[in-house]
Symmetry: C2
């Protein structure tokens, strides 16, 4: 009789037919004599609708009141799901985050969980109830409602699983697990049986929007086994996210990130502090940098290249031009319409052949690489966006073959 | 610098244009250096929509979960109104009932307020905030959400005014006060400047749906001056509900109540306890009785007539037939399609001429009275529903003349 946490997102609870499917998944676990805690999001487009209504009032809402507004969506879902289960003769009870409570810091719209009081949930579980919890929200020490940002229900689910020392956390979604690439780009994607937390973090910070980073970070910290499953398939096994053995080499995925620009600063003075000065300047202007490559050029100067999102490009160029003299840069170049294509897999760093295989796939298809970076578990290359899908397909084929 | 409580109902907050009007009424009081507490209902048809969605799940919802569901409507309104005021550069903060808290008993869907903690509201008021409170709801001692039943926002407003010892409570509605009759029936209705709590109770338990009884009862108990005003008229004075001097004779209103049936039990044994036995029987069957008239008939029997709502008629007749022998009744008669027409006014009891004037108005219009009852402040007659509007018009003309 372990505790299982199940999470169902907005599209999984969008209407009464889908709530019936959700109820089936819950009842399955109850029949196995598990204690079940369910976390749900707002139904379908509810949150979007509330935000649209808010926009009629102001484009710059008070953030405390914004959180009061958008947190109502999940409250509607918990009540409906509890009613449905009770109608089916199961004991169920809904809990808002203040009824538990889930205590967060006071950063409205982007709060972080400080702690969860298990007492109320455990009492209800011990008296035979299915406990239905409103995702995405908590309260701060002063009793203000806070929310975690979009997708925050995943965070609620994994944090509850950690706090309650649940056997596992099942994240139900539209797709039946984590795949080796985006099925819209690659035909023969494969479902992963397992993936490590770190790989999942790399995957989700790239194109694959399966799990939100914060929920994976919590899962990693408290070692919560997370299953990504499909709401719409019976007996879905899905993908297990856990602490995989770092010795196993597997390439787990090929991902793509579009709308990237590269900026190259040529002839930056080769003095201590110049690189710091450059990135401090960008950070002060709230410009996010992704890849950075520094190459030594002439004797007393160096070249630095880095990437920014395309919608930050104009601002970045303006900031750099204004400060060209202070930075002591000769020239500022840029190129647009680039994509970052990456392979992700634990142990990549220990197998030099992996990078060679990846580059070979690109070479065979005449795809030019504008930049390369590597990490412990990831190799990324920058290619023209027009060739990015081909690059993903070629690399996927190299590592996973034809199905 | 007194405290003013303002309440705005669902139609007053239905959309952004109406919220702007509401904001004006609030800002008016702030400019007079008053501390303002605002109670709002759910917007427009929000509660109806939630109940319709609930009906897709079940026709017999768990009441705890029903209250979790329907209480979301007011939370949406408080956030929006607070945002709007903040956008206009006023300090404002929304409070749910659990943030205050407003503590109730545990009767879901029909809870009653036990006490209100003023502390949080007073802190916010003292730091210059307009406080926006979600109407219609509270929490019980175990932290469960409870609601007060439809129209419960009036109750929230008057209870807050009582607890905070506010100068007054303004109930903003569609109409500019309390009128002498229903303007859909009578042309020359007049607005009352003042009305007593008791008269208001009689008015609202009859046709006039201006204020809910429980809010008037609380107003009476704690002597809160209640103003009924129009949201849509500037500088509306409205009607003041307070403790009027009982010596002033005024007829304050003519009301009508439709769909009434009369049941007459002929030849009930004239024994002690028989009347009690009859009404206990009806009460056990959850049948609500309104008017009762007992007339002595023959020596050892009596006749009793009483009225029930028409949709209780069938059930009442069945119960009576089953127990005819136990009650010792000879015959059970009934008539349908009756209406109760009443005049209401403090001091009616001390002026016998009032009843005579009322009966004269009916006589002049050939309207037959099937039953008459009087109380300290009310005289009611039962007439055929087909003649009820004419009765109201005739009586109104008799007391208020042509305009």
């Amino acid at each position: 009789m372990g505790i299982i946490v199940q999470k169902f997102g907005g599209s999984s609870v969008a209407n009464i037919e889908k709530l019936e499917l959700v109820a089936e998944h819950i009842i399955n676990e109850v029949k196995k004599e598990n204690k079940v805690v369910v976390v749900v999001s707002a139904q379908g487009k509810t949150t979007d609708r509330l935000i649209a209504e808010e926009a009629e009032i102001t484009n710059n809402p008070n953030l405390r009141e914004h959180d009061v507004l958008v947190s109502t969506g999940e409250q509607i879902t918990i009540a409906k799901l509890a009613m449905l289960l009770i109608k089916k003769n199961y004991k169920a009870v809904s809990l808002t985050s203040w009824q538990i409570p889930i205590i967060t810091n006071s950063e409205f719209t982007n709060s972080r969980i400080r702690y969860i009081n298990n007492e109320t949930i455990e009492e209800y579980l011990n008296s035979g109830n299915i406990v239905i919890v409103a995702g995405f929200q908590g309260i701060d020490e002063n009793g203000n409602i806070t929310t975690f940002g979009r997708g925050g229900s995943d965070t609620t689910a994994v944090a509850l699983a950690a706090s309650l020392q649940a056997e596992r956390c099942d994240i139900f979604t539209d797709v039946d697990g984590v795949f080796t690439s985006d099925p819209r780009i690659v035909q023969n994607v494969k479902k992963l049986e397992t993936i490590s937390y770190d790989e999942m973090l790399e995957m989700s910070s790239m194109g694959a929007k399966v799990l939100h980073n914060r929920c994976v970070e919590i899962g990693k910290k408290y070692n919560v086994p997370i299953y990504v499953k499909s709401t719409f398939e019976k007996d879905s096994i899905g993908t297990l996210v856990n602490n995989k053995n770092l010795e196993d080499l597997v390439i787990n995925g090929v991902t793509k990130d579009d709308y990237i620009s590269r900026i190259t600063i040529v002839g930056l003075e080769n003095k201590v502090g110049k690189t710091y000065q450059l990135f401090k300047l960008l950070s002060n202007n709230l410009i996010n940098i992704d890849i950075i490559v520094q190459s030594f050029g002439e004797y007393i100067t160096k070249d630095i290249a880095f990437t920014v999102k395309m919608n930050d490009l104009q601002k970045t160029l303006e900031v750099l031009e204004e400060n060209k003299d202070i930075l002591g840069a000769k020239e500022i170049l840029h190129s647009e319409n680039l994509s970052k294509v990456s392979i992700i897999g634990v142990g990549i760093a220990n197998k030099p052949g992996v990078a060679a295989d990846m580059f070979e796939a690109l070479y065979e298809n005449n795809i030019n690489m504008h930049m390369v970076t590597t990490s412990e578990i990831k190799i990324s290359v920058l290619v023209n966006s027009s060739e990015a899908d081909l690059a993903v397909q070629a690399i996927h084929k190299k590592f996973f073959g034809e199905l």
